[in-house]
């Protein structure tokens, strides 16, 4: 029973993810796309929870929903001719797009199915926030500090770009 429910939840979430992801890439109104992006990301957070990555799920919501999507919405407000919803949002490459991505899909699904996975049946560490904290401070200390550099670079880059005068 327990398993079935989680299966059910998984299918629900995947359904939401896939449908809204399709909306993200196809809707004409880019603001709606952004909203569906949020929905997708939220559902992905649900998937993380199903994979016992609570901390990551919270991070997902916090960063993606709370920050990046707001940034995207702001950018939309700033740059698009919003009043005119009918603007064509996709280019002539639709057919090519479908072709490429279905090709990719087939290839990857095939390889997923054909690979022999060595599944280890073992629960993840209990408190994943704590574990991650320890990991970050020990093994991943360098990437961790590099993250700050990356962020700094992004910040400075953004500031420089955003405040550059004129054309």
């Amino acid at each position: 029973m327990e398993v079935e429910v989680s299966q059910l939840v998984f299918y629900l979430l995947s359904f939401v993810i896939i449908i809204s992801a399709i909306y993200v890439v196809t809707l004409r109104n880019i603001f709606h796309s952004a909203l569906f992006l949020i929905l997708t990301l939220f559902a992905v957070a649900g998937i993380y929870i199903m994979l016992n990555a609570e901390f990551l799920a919270a991070v997902q919501v916090l960063i993606y929903v709370g920050a990046i999507s707001i940034l995207i919405i702001f950018a939309i407000m700033l740059t698009s001719q919003l009043a005119n919803k009918q603007i064509r949002q996709s280019n002539e490459q639709v057919m090519i797009g479908i072709f490429i991505c279905s090709g990719f899909l087939l290839a990857s699904l095939g390889s997923i199915a054909n690979t022999v996975w060595r599944i280890v049946e073992k629960p993840l560490p209990e408190n994943n926030t704590l574990t991650m904290g320890k990991l970050l401070m020990n093994e991943f200390v360098l990437p961790f500090e590099i993250v700050s550099i990356v962020l700094l670079a992004a910040l400075i880059g953004a500031v420089v770009l955003a405040r550059k005068e004129g054309a």
Partner: protein
């Protein structure tokens, strides 16, 4: 004596009734959801009434008097009236967005209560990332404001929505960072464990000088800003943007925003209680009384602010956060780190 026991008993009898465990859990959770909703509705109605009373007495008037004893039924009347109000959807709005914004606003506020302990054992689900979960889930409020602003196809609403998003976003950082010292000392993200770390009154985080009070002040300021209340009530600034993002909303949709606003206010205060004031801890009285009492004191504080201060301007607001609160909160975090390391106040 404790409410929690009653719930436990009810749950037990449900479990014994022979239903499969999954269904028992689901029913229990749905019931919990409905109970939380009921409690929140009552609290919000009470807060609205209380706010009107507090403001009235600050201003030497009475506030609602004629609907029930001292107007206690006033907000109920308001609610029933709002149900009867026509629900206008202007022609040019972005319908789905317009429709869903209030729902998301409310649900975001509502979900936070999963992880807030109302009393000893009175918590829906003690998530192990409790506080982080609350912070994460409440960011949906911003989305709802943006949706309301966008969906209304109204310049005032759009400006209000953008303002509030920017404001919430700016105060999110000091808020989060002001919480961190608590987590640092409690060593956990779970709300229950944080409360348990403050069993004695001197262990309350607000009394752990110097980082405690500073963090508390930062948190209260940021919390006021997050809930869009004076002096940070720019998104709804009546004098500038008429009614801000909800300018086009009427009837129940408006009621949802209204409800969400007050629920959010309560959330902020409830978190502050949990994090800084020892949550439900307190002698003699049942734990939920302590929790409610402490929270309401904080709510009163916010109301008091509102009826005293003028409003900041939008850019001043941003500058205040980024130039003052953010560096201060980081400094506070570093201080707390040193204190934790050197084992001061590790009582």
């Amino acid at each position: 004596m404790e409410l929690a026991n009653i719930f436990k008993y009810l749950y037990q009898s449900l479990a014994n009734s022979g239903l499969p465990q999954v269904w028992v859990d689901i029913i229990a959770l749905v019931a919990a959801g409905l109970i939380v909703f009921g409690v929140l509705a009552v609290i919000a109605l009470f807060l609205v009434w209380w706010e009107r009373k507090v403001s009235a007495h600050i201003q030497q008037r009475f506030g609602p008097m004629r609907t029930g004893w001292h107007g206690v039924l006033q907000t109920i009347a308001d609610a029933i009236k709002l149900i009867q109000k026509e629900d206008i959807t202007p022609t040019n709005v972005d319908r789905p967005v317009f429709y869903w914004a209030p729902i998301i606003a409310f649900v975001a506020a509502f979900l936070a209560y999963i992880a807030i302990p109302f009393g000893k054992g009175l918590i829906v689900s003690d998530l192990n990332i409790g506080i982080l979960f609350i912070i994460a889930i409440t960011t949906f409020t911003i989305i709802s404001l943006l949706m309301a602003g966008w969906g209304s196809n109204n310049k005032y609403a759009l400006l209000g929505g953008m303002r509030s998003a920017a404001q919430v976003v700016s105060y999110e950082v000091p808020m989060v960072v002001s919480i961190l010292p608590i987590i640092l000392f409690a060593g956990t993200l779970s709300m229950v464990e944080i409360v348990e770390a403050q069993a004695k009154i001197y262990q309350w985080f607000i009394f752990r000088v110097p980082f405690g009070p500073i963090a508390f002040i930062i948190y209260i300021i940021a919390g006021t800003a997050e809930t869009n209340r004076t002096p940070f009530d720019l998104p709804e600034a009546e004098q500038e943007l008429v009614a801000g993002f909800n300018v086009e909303y009427s009837g129940m949709k408006f009621a949802m925003f209204f409800l969400a606003e007050f629920v959010n206010m309560f959330t902020v205060c409830a978190i502050a209680t949990t994090l800084f004031l020892g949550g439900w801890q307190g002698p003699f009285l049942p734990s939920w009384v302590w929790f409610l009492g402490k929270t309401l004191v904080l709510v009163f504080l916010l109301m008091w602010f509102r009826w005293t201060y003028p409003r900041l301007r939008v850019d001043q607001l941003m500058e205040f956060s980024w130039k003052f609160l953010v560096p201060l909160s980081f400094a506070n975090l570093i201080i707390a780190g040193f204190m934790k390391h050197s084992k001061w106040f590790n009582w």
